[in-house]
């Protein structure tokens, strides 16, 4: 990566098939503190190393996926469907 992004549904596909959104953060609850909302919308950990981000397979299956990628080496460690991740996080 990020020449090729492994889509959990379609396999390795070139970057140009995707739209990148950025940090895969959990959206705060509607009634969360203003501080949490500010944090979600504006602040970023911006780590060197492992990073989770949203990619959309726009010219493919049109699923949003969460890609775990290293921001220094660009190696992808994992990618999974965003809905699956959201559901599993909601459960925990």
């Amino acid at each position: 990566m990020a020449s090729l992004v492994p889509c959990p549904h379609c396999g390795q596909r070139p970057k140009e098939e995707f739209t990148i959104k950025g940090a895969a953060l959990a959206r705060p609850a509607a009634d969360a503190d203003a501080v949490d909302w500010f944090d979600y919308v504006y602040l970023r950990d911006n780590p060197r190393g492992a990073y989770e981000e949203y990619w959309h397979h726009t010219s493919g299956c049109r699923r949003w996926i969460v890609v775990t990628r290293d921001t220094v080496t660009h190696e992808v460690a994992a990618s999974r469907d965003a809905a699956d991740r959201a559901r599993s996080e909601a459960r925990t």
Binding site: L4, C10, Q12, R13, P14, E17, S59, G60, C61, R62
Partner: protein
């Protein structure tokens, strides 16, 4: 104006098939394409769809998780379409895309070589066997590709891009035709 008969104007009406011994590119008739979207969590929609679809090969084509195209050569009358939709419920929603998508066929020894000029999908039969579908970029245009035979592919593309994609495919085929 009930005497009026609406006439269909195919998106690729002006395009002639291009053919040689190594490759043939042809527009397919605008029949029926039904986009099926399963209700989340619905398990076995595929076999159910198989029972609904007419018994043609490759009539049901995966689009993405929980989504398929049902493809027919012939247009489906409005009533029939409505009853198909009704039959799909509540497992799935049907959306008529018969006019929103256009089919193109590319076949022959050099078909996969020509297509590889556009798509990053590995079209080697070992990686992309007959019956397999993929949505992918062909050049700058997104399209749905299905291998319908050892050396034959069907491409489904948004109507608005159909002419542009046709021209691209024709250019990609030029050295083989």
């Amino acid at each position: 104006m009930s005497e009026f008969r609406p006439t269909l104007r195919p998106a690729l009406a002006t395009k002639q098939a291009v053919a040689s011994a190594a490759l043939k590119l042809s527009p397919l008739p605008e029949g029926t394409i039904v986009h099926v979207l399963a209700r989340p969590g619905e398990q076995d929609v595929v076999s159910f769809l198989g029972s609904l679809a007419k018994p043609a090969a490759h009539a049901v084509r995966p689009v993405s998780p929980g989504q398929w195209f049902i493809v027919h050569e012939e247009p489906m009358p409005h009533k029939e379409m409505k009853s198909l939709f009704a039959a799909l419920e509540p497992r799935a929603t049907g959306v008529d895309q018969s006019h929103g998508r256009v089919r193109i066929r590319i076949e022959g020894k050099m078909a996969s070589r020509a297509l590889s000029k556009g798509t990053a999908v590995d079209l080697d039969p070992s990686a992309f066997p007959v019956g397999q579908s993929a949505v992918t970029l062909i050049g700058h245009i997104a399209a749905h590709v299905t291998r319908v035979g050892p050396e034959a592919f069907e491409i489904i593309v948004l109507r608005g891009f159909a002419e542009s994609l046709w021209d691209d495919l024709a250019r990609m085929s030029l050295e083989f035709t």
